[in-house]
């Protein structure tokens, strides 16, 4: 039976009254106790362009009462060029609720291409600063490269999924950092998996699930169908024993599950349900535990669409997905088609399309927001903790952007927002909200993942 519709679980076996660590006692507490987000941290990129500037962490003002609303109010420049900042994460989240003295204060910001890892102190929320840099050579010593997903783990340490070995080939693995942001070593036994990408864990079920992109040497230069035909792209989910750190079960999603990217568990720590978007096959899979085993079933199928001037039907390319904090809605983006969708997942096995917004992409008319011609489609998503404001950016990965949306390099990315009505299950594009990454002194920049200082719908895990 579904346990997804119980967001306010009782914690019979998990006493929270003495909680001293960071975060919120429950997902419901995050919704009720949090204030609306005032700043957003957004990855800004110049890698792979002729703009002679390093990638940066943008501080975006998202407080409607502020004079600088929708503006980039600060930028933390990385010390080097060439990083391709991609995904990033906090040093602590609600899973560390029992670690006294720990603060959700440091962002761990990896360079996807450089394998350099930056630690940014956000004590001054609007004026964060880099306090430590782990150089690529230190990472290569563990025969790992291409850092991707950053999650804190319940004991105060940090685990990062790594997509390749030191040479950018397979296998990938996981790197563990200690509380002082030094490298502790590998989290996993090397060779346990071949490909890696995103991961999420659910401590009460002693499970972690990881997905697969490809070897860095395969996806870095761009997307080549020849590589798909050669089986160089992933299509598996790995279910790990979280405590012991080994793979207990692997599910091959098959032809319909090619390139499974973002994986999200429901936030309720009781839930043994999650979703993964298969980017290339343009499907969403529901995974769940039943009878002591994990299963994955395709629950949403995006049809490819004919496009004038294209020889083949265009896939939607489901590149990001997230679940609202109350576990009621699933949102995902079709980067090529140019739409953001909202599904009611009260019954996790049967998502029901609630609403969608078209903006950018190849079918997202009306494309411009205000006078701004968009380039790229909706991509990385982030939702407010109360589930009422959905934000997104438009860049996927510099070399893939150049292939599918060549104008994005010239015009830069935008950050957009929709107002969500969780009660009615509707969304509407906020035409007044536009953060223009095309309009920066050094030149147009790409924009990627988004996070709030007080936690968001894709970073917090509960014990």
């Amino acid at each position: 039976m579904s346990d997804a519709d119980r967001p306010t679980e009782t914690h019979a076996d998990h006493e929270h009254h003495a909680a001293e660590g960071p975060g919120y006692a429950t997902p419901q507490a995050a919704i009720e106790e949090s204030d609306p987000e005032e700043v957003a941290y957004v990855m800004g990129l110049y890698v792979g362009t002729d703009v002679d500037a390093p990638d940066f962490l943008a501080v975006v003002d998202v407080d409607p009462d502020s004079e600088t609303y929708t503006e980039i109010v600060d930028r933390v420049e990385m010390p080097n060029r060439g990083d391709e900042l991609h995904h990033f994460g906090w040093n602590a989240c609600s899973s560390s609720c029992h670690v006294e003295g720990l603060e959700r204060r440091h962002l761990v910001v990896p360079g996807q291409r450089s394998s350099r890892i930056h630690i940014v102190d956000t004590k001054e929320r609007r004026n964060p600063e880099i306090v430590r840099v782990i150089e690529p050579e230190e990472v290569f010593e563990y025969d790992l490269s291409a850092p991707h997903t950053v999650h804190c783990i319940p004991d105060g340490q940090i685990v990062i999924s790594m997509l390749g070995n030191a040479d950018g080939e397979l296998p990938g693995g996981f790197l563990e950092l200690n509380e002082e942001f030094g490298i502790d070593g590998r989290w996993d036994p090397p060779g346990e998996i071949e490909m890696n990408y995103d991961y999420w864990y659910q401590p009460r079920h002693n499970v972690m699930v990881s997905s697969e992109w490809a070897a860095p040497e395969t996806y870095y230069p761009g997307f080549d169908l020849e590589d798909v035909e050669a089986g160089k792209y992933g299509r598996k989910l790995h279910f790990w024993n979280w405590e012991e750190g080994y793979v207990e079960q692997t599910i091959d999603l098959g032809e319909e599950g090619q390139i499974p990217l973002e994986v999200r568990f429901l936030h309720s720590p009781e839930a043994a349900h999650g979703y993964v978007g298969a980017a290339l096959s343009s499907n969403v899979f529901h995974f769940f535990e039943e009878g002591g085993e994990w299963h994955a079933e395709k629950v949403i199928d995006i049809e490819s669409r004919e496009h004038e001037g294209w020889d083949f039907p265009v896939p939607g390319l489901v590149t990001d997905l997230l679940i609202s904090m109350d576990d009621r809605y699933l949102f995902f983006s079709n980067w090529l088609h140019g739409d953001v969708r909202m599904y009611d997942i009260s019954d996790p096995a049967n998502p029901r399309l609630a609403d969608r917004i078209r903006a950018g992409g190849y079918f997202g008319d009306p494309a411009p927001v205000g006078d701004r011609e968009l380039a790229g489609g909706p991509q990385m998503l982030q939702l407010s903790l109360d589930g009422e404001r959905l934000y997104w950016t438009t860049s996927l990965f510099s070399s893939w952007d150049n292939q599918f949306f060549p104008e994005e390099g010239e015009r830069g990315s935008v950050m957009l927002k929709a107002d969500v009505d969780p009660r009615k299950g509707t969304m509407s594009l906020d035409e007044e909200f536009l953060v223009d990454f095309g309009d920066l002194p050094e030149g147009p920049a790409r924009a990627h993942e988004i996070r709030w200082p007080d936690g968001d719908c894709t970073s917090d895990v509960w014990q």
């Binding site: 792979g48 291409r113 450089s114 690529p136 490269s145 040479d167 997307f223 510099s398 292939q403 060549p406």
Partner: protein, 106 residues
């Protein structure tokens, strides 16, 4: 052995010439001369630094893993691991990377 070769770097909007010792990569020599070329991994895996050899000869000091045979045959080179073996003319800049793989659906 530290023979230097003249390397001409061509972009759509400008042409620059540098001297590259045979012991140095084209990317390092360009950095040293204050010319910013795109790069990423610095290990030959990502092709962010890719250039196209129009004349001359380079040697890749590690396997150029980001390039397929068809790219190597077409004269693409990875400037983070390429050392000149003769005077070279190389097309550089971000648009060289864009030409590496096409949109497969178009």
């Amino acid at each position: 052995m530290a023979v230097s070769h003249e390397v001409v770097l061509e972009r759509s909007d400008r042409v620059e010439t540098i001297d590259v010792p045979g012991t140095e990569t084209v990317l390092d020599a360009a950095e040293r001369a204050g010319i910013a070329l795109p790069f990423g991994c610095l290990t030959g895996a990502c092709a962010t630094c890719v250039g196209r050899l129009l004349a001359g000869e380079v040697h890749h000091s590690r396997p150029p893993r980001a390039l397929k045979d068809r790219h190597l045959e077409a004269g693409y080179v990875l400037l983070c691991i390429a050392r000149p073996r003769a005077p070279c003319r190389i097309r550089v800049g971000a648009d060289v990377q864009s030409g590496l793989v096409e949109n497969p659906w178009k």
